[in-house]
Symmetry: C2
């Protein structure tokens, strides 16, 4: 049976990590006990702020149901929401005027909540190496964000970036401008065996499609294919630049996150790898931390907290 | 008054250069006298083979009118047509089944007719440096095409490629990963002064938009801005690889064509620049050459030539 939650109950919190692929939500009580979890589809503001908020709501409702709470409980939760694409033009303004189902909400970038989770709110930085890449650090209340502006203008060292370099080299090999290696032959074969098919593929390809070639590059790099090694080593060098920049900003520890992190780490130089430490918790934990901080803001005379906030 | 053209008149030829921006047509008689010229909008097969052929027809009709010929004269012309994007998936097949308004027609790629024009049908090669880039050579009846698969997977040394590298470096400078130079500051300012505006620009940007930054890179490179120099020098190195590949294929001379050719030439290494010679004629002249060769094929018993042909 669903449990009603009244304003007199212990305050509950919901943390939400809204990414480009999925949206994950988790409800905890004041003591940090997990009560329920839920997921939904993409929540990046790239799909539009309304669709983004719909995904946030769907994941939250699923978590409320998983926690065996009444649907109305949503209105009593304080929410921390990490959203991909929050730095896109007009996104912050749109989020501040959108209606949300929570008692109160604080929004931040997905990188910000990932960083909060990785270091449990203490000073530190993260470098995400997934389809895209980004560096983010929080030090003494100041934040630094580097890269992560999207593909192909940014996201050095990301899966999409490795994939694009693979396609470029594969075409040069096809033309005879460089000698084909097993890796480059496999890339051409994977994309349709000839440049005509490959060009047709590229006309439709998204960052995710390019990123699908990154594991191939990593496998061949590990087997010492010279072109795969060149691509992966350059990606690692760029990831190293991100890590160093965060360290220079003052971040004492950096966590490497994202789907490529575990395989890219061995390609980092020892001086750079030295700054890495495993993440202590996930991005949803970071979003919950934001929600708790928001919950500690005193309630004003109207019985409302300060209102939706972006940090 | 319009002049009628009957099958008994001297044979007339039309050469057409159908590019990504415009389509140019020129009618000549058997002696090479220019009778008329016409233009139309883009004719690349990227817009669809039907739209492409519509542009070819429009430019041809304008040339017929300019030559003071009867509209029906079109059906007596032998046409050579160079088309951008002829190597795209399905384009050649579609062209062979499309109805054309000419007595006879032969299609080739835009690079092929540019090469024929540049060397007046003799062995040689071209490297085009414009919005895109491509290398093409014809030697002893064999042809080699390198690059030109489109942006961002190919087209090294092109305007779009230089522009993309400029944006990537500008964002790194904004983040403090590298020290900003006057060039990189101007790139950021040109694209909206902050990364949020720049990302919004990039989400819409075409190869042509990226290429609009190439002249900026060249100007700063000439003034020795280190990042502009790095970008332009790498573009020239890639253009050099194209030139060398064509020379190794056997092309005795290479012509550098396209909007960036005149400014990029000074960045080529002397060993590479040594192979360059100015083009003798334009791509339309190359298309006319194709038409004349087609016209020299004997007419079969049905009174028709071999029919539409792609080379």
């Amino acid at each position: 049976m669903s449990t009603p939650v009244s304003p007199n109950s212990t305050q509950l919190y919901i943390g939400i990590d809204g990414g480009g692929t999925s949206c994950r939500a988790r409800i905890e009580d004041a003591e940090g006990n997990v009560l329920g979890q839920g997921t939904a589809g993409p929540a990046t503001t790239r799909i539009g702020v309304d669709s983004s908020m719909q995904a946030v709501r769907t994941a939250s409702e699923a978590a409320v149901m998983d926690a065996s709470l009444m649907p109305s409980a949503l209105g009593h939760l304080i929410a921390g929401v990490g959203l991909a694409g929050i730095d896109r033009k007009g996104a912050r303004e749109a989020l501040m005027s959108v209606t949300h189902p929570f008692q109160d909400v604080v929004f931040a970038s997905d990188a910000n909540v990932a960083c909060l989770g990785a270091h449990r709110g203490r000073d530190g930085g993260i470098v995400v190496l997934g389809t895209g890449s980004i560096g983010f650090a929080s030090v003494k209340g100041r934040e630094l964000r580097i890269g992560g502006y999207g593909f192909p203008i940014s996201d050095e060292g990301s899966g999409a970036d490795l994939g694009l370099q693979a396609v470029r080299l594969a075409l040069r090999a096809h033309d005879g401008r460089i000698s084909p290696s097993p890796f480059l032959l496999e890339v051409i074969e994977k994309l349709g065996s000839d440049p005509v098919a490959l060009v047709a593929w590229a006309e439709q390809a998204t960052a995710k499609d390019y990123a699908s070639l990154a594991p191939v590059a990593l496998t061949y790099a590990e087997a010492r294919d010279p072109f795969a090694e060149e691509i992966v080593a350059e990606g690692a060098r760029q990831a190293g630049v991100l890590i160093r920049s965060l360290v220079e900003f003052g971040a004492p520890h950096i966590s490497l996150l994202g789907g490529l992190a575990s395989r890219m780490v061995q390609w980092l130089s020892p001086e750079v790898a030295h700054f890495l430490s495993p993440p202590e918790a996930d991005a949803v934990a970071g979003a919950l931390l934001l929600a708790r901080r928001k919950g500690s803001v005193p309630i004003d005379s109207s019985g409302q907290r300060k209102g939706a906030q972006i940090c």
